[in-house]
Symmetry: C2
Subunit: 305 residues, 2 copies
């Protein structure tokens, strides 16, 4: 099985991380971090979420962040739109692309979005129609695609059904999220194979958590199935909603390090990325879970020019 | 590619972990931990190392530990023998099997064992002859098989040559160690394929470190090549010699968790194993890197009877 020789990484830290950290990071600091991330070679950065400011005060400055960043050629700055109200706000800043999210299982969707899977799909359909009418690209995340903290194992048919609906709505990208950190490499391969059979003209992205240590094993499983887009967070920022000290998102440095040391081109300068980790750790004021940040890279993971 | 449906785990914590922790754990506490580990379903436990008591005061009680444990049917208690002097001590307690170790590269071997690779092979040959004359099984580790902290990338031919020499000396097992945490899944597959072509009647075991986050990804790579023996440490004990807070050995709980949740039988009761982690963490008095210990297992990783 030949693995891909080039991979695209979607950095989720400024959205997922800043949203889940208890502290409110000043807008100018967020903008500085995003601008520095854009200088590492990253091509996609999730930069904000248009969530309710009372529910998510950490990211109430989504508009200011999107307006304040210095746009860099070749970089897509991706805001997340959780509902129609968020879409109204997004329209004011005219992003070229948006990301929506819902969960693969009823209980998780209810817990996260306070509505049924079917109601979420209706709202998502409405958002997709608006995006299309404005010439905006849209991508969709399926959170808890592999397991639910209350319902346990999630049958692959649930994520598959939502992914196909996203495709039918004109989404250019579908992202499978292991939000609960329950996926195993074999489960990843099974679900990816199913989606590769069903999805046409849709980019498949994988978003893993390292909650139980399998984050990079699941990435490798995705590579073996030909997936070329992965999501990760600077330093592993974003934490774990389940237990103190546990890991959440896989760290972008660890992902880039594994890929580059296998000879897979990410387009990212790992040393510049590690400078960003340092900056973010100083801002957050606590140790980030990234392993490569602690011990340093192997020389053959670094760009030689 | 069909992965194995059954895997054997070699627990290295009481040897590798106790040897590398700065504190000296009382002999009766070591024995208690080993006895409890033997009740989890583990079939192989590395229990001690016959190292120089002045260099390794933490494990100076190797004989007492081996004499004190309550032998359990079906469990092999494996001491490590670093040199001929260690072998003399081992002979006094008559283990059924011993493990020797040397490094794949010159500089690492010099740093760890203070001799050349060729001198180590000569000494190892002498130890193997003694073991054979006493009817003892012998297995050999190749440390730093994938990378050296001073020499960088280690060509696969170096580990291959030592592995073949081990086989010719009558070893029943060869273990590849990623002591420096530099291995990637593709590198693992390449080296395993080479050894599977060369080794006959020798069990191949893989020993990974999670120093740069790739521990379980490398295990998955080994599974894809048909490897059925892996080494790990309770709680991830053993630390990392390179940086504070960094991970060393992969944690046995995380390994068992990934394997069992993929439907691979390890014969190990994960809940009993997690009780051992708790005990070890209390003894060591600091947080262990195991992820599953922090967040708990998924229900389908547990034995139902």
């Amino acid at each position: 099985m030949k693995i891909p020789d080039k991979v695209t990484i979607i950095e989720v830290g400024p959205r997922d991380g800043f949203q889940n950290e208890p502290m409110v990071i000043p807008t100018d600091v967020k903008i500085d971090i995003i601008d520095k991330l854009a200088q590492t070679g990253l091509q996609y950065i999730q930069v904000a979420i248009f969530g309710h400011p009372k529910v998510m005060p950490q990211v109430a400055d989504a508009e200011e962040v999107l307006k304040g960043i210095t746009r860099r050629e070749g970089v897509t700055y991706l805001p997340e739109v959780p509902n129609l109200r968020g879409m109204e706000r997004a329209l004011q800043v005219k992003p070229e692309e948006i990301r929506i999210v819902m969960c693969a299982s009823e209980e998780q969707n209810k817990a996260l979005l306070n509505r049924s899977v079917s109601d979420s799909l209706n709202e998502v359909g409405e958002i997709a129609r608006i995006a299309s009418s404005k010439g905006m690209k849209i991508g969709g995340s399926i959170a808890g695609a592999f397991g639910s903290s209350t319902e346990g194992w999630v049958p692959p048919e649930q994520a598959e059904k939502i992914a196909v609906t996203y495709m039918d709505m004109g989404f250019h990208e579908v992202s499978l999220g292991d939000t609960t950190g329950m996926a195993t490499p074999e489960q990843v391969r099974d679900l990816v194979r199913r989606l590769h059979r069903k999805l046409k003209n849709v980019r498949l992205s994988l978003h893993f958590h390292n909650t139980r240590g399998t984050g990079l094993a699941n990435v490798y499983a995705g590579l073996l199935e030909g997936v070329t887009t992965f999501e990760s967070s600077i330093g592993g920022l974003g934490g774990c909603p389940f237990a103190p000290g546990a890991s959440g998102n896989i760290a972008t440095e660890d992902l880039v390090h594994m890929l580059e040391s296998m000879g897979i081109d990410t387009g990212i300068d790992l040393l510049k990325l590690l400078e960003c980790t340092k900056l973010v750790q100083n801002v957050i004021g606590k140790e980030l879970p990234s392993q490569v940040f602690k011990v340093g890279p192997v020389p053959w993971a670094l760009k030689t020019n």
